[in-house]
Symmetry: C2
Subunit: 301 residues, 2 copies
DNA sequence: CGCCGAGTTTTGTCCTAGACAAAAAGCACT
DNA sequence: AGTGCTTTTTGTCTAGGACAAAACTCGGCG
């Protein structure tokens, strides 16, 4: 046979759909219907995995599983995003043509060209405006492009990796923060996106805050330990659009319960737009809002 | 009640033990024995989660679950690592005292001091020796320290995050690679450690290779697409010691089957030390070995 | 004394199938 | 167009059973 087949664990890895869900769908909707290997275990042909991947992407855009699974395979690629297109509030000030040009560089896999374009803009505009006018809108556009199927996963990865580099580099050369609020920046397990946190870190560091970057995927109990060990005043988490939003309230409540009450818990990112946080948790819808809160905090102290 | 309790999903998140395993252990060994909430679902008290976390760490050191679960809770912390202490082959040339000093900085949570120490050494020694004599041994020591319980998870995260920055920064200022082998660097899903890949990238870039860094956690089918899109000659993966070694052969075989036969597949990292790779996959036990192979490749072409 | 092969135990993952709660959608009624 | 209620949809949890692969143990042989 020429088409390799995937175990249920492999499909979970590649599509992000849990084993439970895969089995449930098979039972309920009659798709996917994997073959069985010699041990009676599911063996998914590559073609079904591909279709599952597509279904997952459409679900992330607001489509419902029941509808998608009932649809024939060839009807899927034509579907448009379902939830309202994201607001483009910042478009007025942004250099739209320049942004599109940079997206084009990524799309052409021109890593060097993209890096140069970034560096150039950083040098010209300074870090603050670079973050707000370039990186943030770019990230948003890449997210949209991915949702619409115009970007491959690996193109998004390349974009993320290169952009992270420039941001980290820019942060590294800032004068070391020694100022008032000590801010711990991280994300919870299963949330691996860090670009948003880096943007926040850049802006916070510019305001003189002392940032403690812990990377992604910290277990909640470890976030608490780190908070105590570093004497942090604020814990900032980021949730991307890809994070399962149903889990957010539980996670936040749990963490809020673990942390000392005097420590503030701030959250932001595309993933928190559609949820209301539990009490004692502060939610941000934009970078500007976060910076404003930081400045307020500093004035209060 | 003052001790928050964890759902089975939360325990999976925080300990890394799968739901299946948690239920299995309960059935077989009588631990953990969670309480039940109103719906009859498991609710793990914080104390049991803590014990599970400890058990997991000891398992990663080579202890067997059956033994650990039979042991009383207070006997666990005293256990020593089981598998032979890693070889310290490079110790001869390394500046042992300096390394220990840097570890101490991390242990004291002195992020700024650690960054300065790193930058200083990078400037003094140059990138190549910095990677080989400082970053690689440091990473190894942090791994050992973590295994022995001398490092907390969040300390390891801080170390990783700060070290990544310096490395990325150093790579960013290298002359842009345009040379012969195009090398794609990434890791498979569930493998989030990237420090090893960054070290490889630094050394490869110094040899004039053109590196395409895609970050971590690429689905296998996406690795293949990226390879084709970028026209890569070599795909390099890294497996950390934390990666479940039982899954490595399957993953490699799958990927080898997906990739065009002309594309080489190179793997390295602490996770591959104890496994034999399938045919068509090249395994590296040290950074030097990787660089040597790259140079050979260049001579052949 | 060390090494190798066979047998035994340990251990994780997969399987089926049912139950239920939370979220989303539909709908009636201001 | 909004608001509150009912129904449908959907994911996660539960239970125990089966099995294969890995790890350990032990006997025999060089």
């Amino acid at each position: 046979m020429n088409t390799p087949s995937f175990s249920i664990a492999a499909v979970e890895r590649d599509t992000g759909l849990s084993k439970d869900v895969l089995r449930m769908w098979e039972r309920r909707y009659g798709f996917p219907v994997p073959e069985r290997d010699a041990n009676g275990e599911r063996a998914y042909p590559a073609e079904q995995v591909e279709r599952l991947r597509l279904i997952k992407r459409l679900m992330d855009q607001g489509h419902r599983p029941g509808k998608l699974l009932a649809l024939p395979a060839d009807a899927l690629p034509g579907l448009a995003p379902k939830h309202a297109p994201p607001t483009r509030t910042q478009a007025a000030t942004a250099d739209t043509e320049g942004l599109e040009e940079m997206l084009r560089l990524i799309k052409q896999h021109d890593a060097n060209g993209y890096m140069q374009a970034l560096q150039q803009r950083l040098a010209r505009q300074g870090l603050q405006r670079f973050v707000q006018d370039i990186v943030a809108p770019l990230t948003q556009r890449v997210g949209e492009a991915w949702e619409e199927g115009r970007f491959e996963v690996f193109e998004e990865h390349l974009f993320t990796e290169l952009t992270k580099r420039v941001l980290r580099q820019a942060i590294a050369v800032l004068p070391l923060g020694t100022g008032k609020p000590r801010v711990l920046l991280t994300s919870v397990p299963d949330e691996q996106h860090i670009l948003g946190l880096l943007m926040v870190e850049a802006l916070f560091a510019l305001e003189g805050a002392q940032c403690i970057p812990l990377g992604t995927q910290m277990p909640l109990t470890e976030i608490n330990r780190a908070t105590l060990a570093h004497g942090a005043d604020i814990v900032t988490l980021s949730f991307s659009a890809a994070y399962p939003s149903r889990q957010i309230p539980e996670v936040l409540q749990q963490l809020r319960q673990l942390l000392p009450p005097t420590v503030e818990l701030w959250i932001g990112g595309a993933g928190v737009m559609r949820t209301t946080p539990p009490s004692g948790v502060r939610q941000f819808f934009s970078l500007e809002q976060g910076v404003q809160s930081l400045v307020e905090w500093q004035r209060m102290a």
